[in-house]
């Protein structure tokens, strides 16, 4: 057991938890915004995957991580705009469209990857690291928490921004109304469809960014189906966080730990089959749901299209 508590194991674990948790955090925050506005965004897995692919391709072609992140966000938004068109404007079934978008994104990105990279399998160079001076040298937690790509700090900052948005601004109030009682929002003279469209597009950008981070920083390359359910975990995070962004952060880190355990254990020289470790995050989701599921809460109008005048 002592081998597990060495400094290198712990800092690998913490570093890995942050790296694996950031995509979940970004997508979870995005999903939370959608859910607040009444859209159950099952397509988020597809949005992340589109972000991964676009982020990788652009970062590779232009040799710029920043461009990659921009492209990832835009790609996520492009998929989200289809979701907004079909589910918000045309009031189609959100679940059907979500599955359709995820399947299409999986197929399309894998297909494009096959034709471009299946012979070369290029890798990106190591992503630039922004060490926070003074903090990055603290024993154990310093290297794990404060030597990351700049987008990590931005993502954590975003938690505060979203919390502020939800609690203190009209935007937050409008989102909440769009998910709880869209008719009331409509009666107050606010465009329900515009509010929901904005929410879905924001989700797309965040999910795309999360996906891009996965490919550019986490893996350094694109592999077909690489998000491997991260989008769905993000949905669970948003569901359990009950509208509170800080809880998404905590949840994302918790799942990040279970995702990074494989690497950390390998570093510590403990040999556990990868398949066993791969089960951890999903087993944890189920466990958390069984224990805390009673407390999960979703807006009443979630998943229902808003059609003016319809009862």
């Amino acid at each position: 057991m002592n081998a597990l508590l060495t400094e290198v194991f712990l800092s690998t674990l913490i570093f890995g938890a942050v790296t694996a948790g950031i995509p979940l955090l970004l997508a979870g925050l995005g999903e939370q915004i959608s859910e607040k506005a009444g859209i159950l965004n099952i397509g988020i897995e597809g949005m992340m995957l589109a972000g991964s692919y676009a982020g990788f391709v652009v970062a590779y072609a232009w040799d710029s991580f920043a461009f990659g992140f921009v492209a990832g966000g835009l790609a996520g938004m492009a998929v989200a705009s289809l979701m907004a068109l079909f589910c918000v404007r045309l009031s189609l079934n959100q679940i059907v469209v979500g599955i359709a978008l995820t399947l299409s994104a999986e197929g399309l990105t894998a297909l494009l990857h096959f034709f471009q990279f299946s012979r070369t399998y290029p890798r990106l160079p190591k992503a630039p690291v922004l060490a926070i001076p003074g903090l990055d040298n603290i024993a154990v937690i310093g290297p794990g928490l404060f030597r990351h790509n700049a987008i990590v700090y931005l993502a954590v900052l975003l938690v505060a921004v979203v919390a502020w948005l939800f609690r203190k601004t009209y935007i937050g109030l409008n989102l909440e109304a769009a998910g709880n009682k869209p008719a009331a929002l409509d009666a107050a003279g606010i465009d329900v469809l515009a509010t929901r469209t904005g929410a879905v597009l924001t989700t797309g950008v965040l999910a795309g960014l999360g996906g891009a981070y996965m490919a550019e920083v986490g893996a350094g390359l694109f592999v077909p189906y690489m998000t491997n359910g991260a989008g769905f975990i993000a949905i669970v995070l948003a569901m359990l966080a009950r509208g509170r962004p800080l809880w998404v952060l905590l949840g994302a880190l918790l799942f990040g730990v279970s995702l990074s355990l494989t690497t950390a254990l390998q570093v510590a020289g403990v040999d556990i089959p990868t398949d066993v470790v791969q089960m951890l995050p999903f087993a944890m989701v189920i466990l958390v749901l069984v224990i805390f599921g009673r407390n999960s809460m979703l807006p009443p109008a979630l998943g229902l299209p808003y059609i003016r005048g319809e009862r």
Partner: protein
């Protein structure tokens, strides 16, 4: 006429848009589609492979018909399929040594059904007790089940006599018998029987009516005195059990063993198929032919034309999208006409 258009138009649109993607990638979509058709349907070998492939697809689809009609989104069929498959692959070779062949097969099928159903207990519980969305929970269980199946193959049920991590191979003589000298195994009969049974249960029995009531309006069903929680469990058990049966049939009929990391991932592909059939059990059969041709033909085309199987995923996603869109347009046109 309208009903036909509502099915044919989305299919044509999906084929068209996906074809444009192929064109953009420098492949000839017409060559691809005709290759899929000829290899999947018009050659004798392809036709037999297509009918063989239909067996697991039909069983999964039959399960989804039950759950979708009852308003439950069991999207975890991949995990249920795979786990039941692995358990079957481990159990049957042992069973045939102990009891007569026919009893061994029947026992294996029952166990596979039970394994699939058991894997849906947690999503059913979370849905029935806390109202937690079953899409997410069943998907999570599916990811979990896929990994667990791998663990079982590599650690618990690994055949020590081979270097490849796989379960003990069921001898060809002990597999499901083939039909009339073809390569098609009798699992297809089980599958068709299951589809017909599901159709009868859902449309002709009180139990089926109860499930459909819950699907149409769970609150009204609870008001009418139905035990919605119990029906939720029953729906999940039937739907997941049929997915488990699909896994068993695929193992007993085709594979004979489970190799590590084997996951055909039929589950999400069958969802659009059931939508195309509008949740109608018998309607599922026709669309399963279409999907099986796509898969078998696509596998051949991926070798011959260098278009990977991922393309079928794109095609199916597009199909689902256009299906929803065409339904919407049709619905709106009807509303417009009604308001005139």
């Amino acid at each position: 006429m309208r009903a036909v258009a509502r099915v044919v138009v989305p299919i044509l649109l999906a084929l068209g848009v996906s074809g444009l993607v192929l064109l953009a990638l420098g492949k000839n979509p017409l060559a691809y589609y005709s290759d899929v058709l000829s290899r999947g349907l018009l050659t004798w070998g392809g036709l037999q492979a297509t009918i063989t492939r239909m067996a697991p697809l039909l069983l999964i689809a039959a399960g989804l018909v039950v759950s979708f009609q009852a308003g439950i989104w069991n999207l975890g069929t991949d995990g249920q399929f795979l786990l039941a498959g692995v358990i079957t692959a481990a159990l049957t070779p042992v069973l045939v040594g102990i009891v007569p062949w026919s009893i061994a097969i029947i026992l294996s099928l029952i166990v596979a059904f039970a394994v699939g159903a058991a894997w849906s207990l947690i999503p059913a519980f979370l849905k029935a007790s806390y109202g937690i969305n079953e899409i997410i929970t069943s998907l999570m269980m599916s990811f979990l089940g896929t990994s667990l199946a791998n663990v079982l193959v590599k650690i618990s049920f690994r055949d020590p006599s081979t270097d490849v991590p796989q379960t003990q191979v069921l001898p060809v003589a002990d597999r499901l018998p083939r039909l009339f000298g073809t390569t098609v195994h009798s699992g297809i009969l089980i599958a068709i029987a299951a589809v017909v049974l599901v159709h009868v249960v859902m449309t002709r029995t009180a139990f089926g009516l109860k499930l459909r009531m819950v699907g149409a309006n769970p609150r009204a069903a609870a008001h009418a005195g139905l035990n919605v929680a119990k029906l939720t469990f029953a729906t999940f058990a039937l739907s997941a059990g049929l997915a488990g049966l699909a896994g068993a049939v695929e193992i007993l009929g085709v594979q004979g063993t489970v190799r590590a990391d084997w996951n055909p991932a039929y589950g999400l592909l069958v969802v659009p198929l059931v939508f195309l059939a509008r949740f109608h059990a018998l309607g599922v059969i026709g669309f399963t032919v279409f999907f099986a041709v796509l898969m078998i033909g696509g596998e051949s085309a991926s070798r011959r034309l260098g278009v990977p199987q991922h393309f079928v995923l794109l095609l199916v996603g597009m199909l689902l999208l256009f299906l929803a869109l065409v339904d919407y347009l049709d619905h709106r046109r009807r509303l417009m006409r009604a308001s005139l």
